[in-house]
């Protein structure tokens, strides 16, 4: 078995899935919305990046910016369609789930219809070289993917810690009722949350397309993985999502090397069931020192 290959894969996958999981986690805890259209936003931004690479030029900043911007637009679109009209109506959480699922189905079919079933590949954004770090051979695409995910996520988290808008989002994540009491508008904030998480989906899409490809349904599996990591980490917890991403990334790299790629989802869900049996609130239940009520 090639250890260095497994480790390199685990790190890359952890970074990309972690980005998705944080996006899903943020949406759930601040808006109470399980965004089933996240996979659609993911695929859409892949196509956005692909179009940019075809019509503007295949250089790294352009393609990444196009992917992230398409994700932002997709997030705002989903928010306007599935959150704003129903968020204060009875049974909102179930309705939101169904509405986003509908957007996902329609959107994926629309992508299939307009771009055709053939997968597109994005240009190599990070070159083709490789570096040997402590015996682990990291190819340039993996280093680039991991680094850009870590850097951008750190920036996002720092922004959420330090800015006023970030404070609003965090306040809404912890107690939406109290947030309205201090003058935070749910509708305004929902747009920034969805734009932010959409941008994260766009980033993850461009990065994952370095290893895989862009296809109309390419967002479904990453979304399922992101959602399960978010669940495992404890919905709403960023550190939990990061640890969950590392665990599941490692699991995926090992399973696909030892057993074969088709078993990844099986071992992954077994692992999640195991963790949730022991810690029903997810990994965050261990990290959280504050009392809930």
């Amino acid at each position: 078995m090639n250890w260095s290959f497994v480790i390199a894969n685990a790190i890359t996958l952890a970074c990309i899935y972690g980005t998705l999981a944080i996006g899903i986690s943020l949406t759930w805890s601040s808006l109470g919305l399980i965004n089933m259209a996240y996979g659609f936003i993911f695929a859409l931004s892949g196509y956005g990046a692909w179009l940019a690479s075809q019509y503007i030029g295949p250089n790294t900043p352009v393609v990444m910016a196009a992917g992230i911007l398409t994700g932002v637009v997709g997030g705002v679109f989903v928010n306007a369609l599935a959150f704003i009209p129903i968020h204060d109506k009875p049974n909102y959480q179930l309705r939101g789930l169904i509405a986003t699922l509908a957007i996902s189905l329609v959107g994926n079919q629309a992508l299939l219809w307009s771009f055709g079933p053939r997968a597109k590949s994005l240009p190599q954004l990070f070159g083709t070289g490789s570096v040997n770090i402590l015996g682990v051979v990291m190819t340039a695409d993996k280093i680039g993917a991991s680094l850009s995910a870590v850097v951008l996520l750190t920036l996002v988290l720092l922004w959420m810690r330090s800015s006023r808008r970030g404070l609003e989002i965090r306040a809404m994540m912890m107690n939406p009722h109290a947030a309205s009491i201090v003058g935070i508008g749910v509708r305004q904030t929902s747009f920034s949350v969805m734009a932010l998480t959409g941008g994260l989906a766009g980033l993850a899409s461009v990065l994952l397309a370095q290893t895989y490809y862009v296809a109309p349904f390419s967002g479904i599996t990453p979304m399922v993985k992101g959602l399960s990591i978010a669940l495992m980490g404890g919905l709403g917890s960023v550190p939990g999502a990061v640890i969950g991403a590392v665990v599941l990334g490692t699991n995926e790299a090992f399973t696909s090397t030892l057993l074969g790629g088709q078993y990844v989802l099986i071992t992954q869900f077994l692992l999640i069931i195991l963790i949730l049996l022991i810690r029903p609130r997810g990994i965050a239940g261990i990290l959280d020192k504050a009392r809930e009520a």
Binding site: L167, G183, V186, A290
Partner: protein, 245 residues
């Protein structure tokens, strides 16, 4: 906006009804609060004090009737969507310090105080306002970087009240500030609220315990079964007159 007394009305409630689902808690209620005064709202559990406050903030289940806050209409007729317009009412100058504190358990004390200052002017002045709050509630000084989820009940109450006092509010609604606290701490919290300089704003404090407010607020209004019952000024305390009991 001048009333018969010649003072500016901060709050003018006219014909307000509010409740939750099929239950009507507030019945055609009228209430005036003037600038610079402290009003006690006294009544037993379940007689509508909290619902009145929540309805003014647009957080009750449904509501009907006119609410003028600083001369601006913030009341509306609505059957659902609690909280949808609350942030607009808050930006008009309402600071609600709800029962049960409604804290953000993962944010630090300092972040809480910041979150109370979301109006543009308050945000710019939030540094000096925080210093002012710390003068009112000195125990918070050492806890500024602690997540509120780790604080005791009394400390949380101070955080919740401090957050409300950070705002540029013209009307402070304080819902049972002594609830669930040890009598000594409850008294000190009330004393701190009495020490706040109101200026052109007004404060309404809901309490079950008349004794805590007697002699310290400008007038006391009783509340019974969703209606206001009688009024007593401080000059003639309730115990001797007794319309609000």
């Amino acid at each position: 906006m001048t009333a018969q007394s010649g003072r500016r009305e901060v709050l003018h409630v006219d014909g307000l009804s509010a409740g939750w689902g099929p239950m009507r808690v507030i019945h055609d209620l009228d209430l005036n609060v003037y600038a610079g005064e402290r009003v006690g709202l006294v009544g037993l559990n379940g007689h509508g004090k909290s619902t009145l406050f929540l309805a003014i903030a647009g957080l009750s289940g449904w509501q009907r009737g006119s609410i003028l806050l600083d001369g601006h209409e913030v009341g509306r007729t609505r059957s659902q969507g609690p909280g949808r317009y609350t942030h607009l009412v808050v930006r008009r100058g309402l600071a609600l310090m709800p029962q049960g504190d409604e804290i953000f358990h993962g944010l630090t004390v300092e972040e809480h105080l910041d979150s109370g200052a979301f109006t543009p002017r308050a945000w710019k002045e939030r540094g000096e306002r925080k210093t002012r709050i710390l003068k009112i509630f000195p125990p918070l000084e050492a806890l500024m970087k602690t997540p509120v989820g780790r604080l005791s009940g009394g400390e949380r109450r101070m955080v919740s009240l401090g957050r409300g006092l950070m705002a540029d509010a013209s009307l402070f609604l304080v819902d049972e500030p002594s609830l669930g606290l040890a009598p000594k701490i409850g008294k000190s919290v009330i004393a701190a609220l009495m020490a706040v300089e109101l200026g052109g704003s007004a404060m309404v404090i809901a309490e079950q315990n008349v004794g805590l407010l007697e002699g310290r607020v400008d007038r006391i209004i009783g509340m019974h079964a969703g209606k206001l019952k009688g009024e007593a000024s401080v000059a003639s305390p309730l115990s001797s007159k007794g319309p609000a009991a």
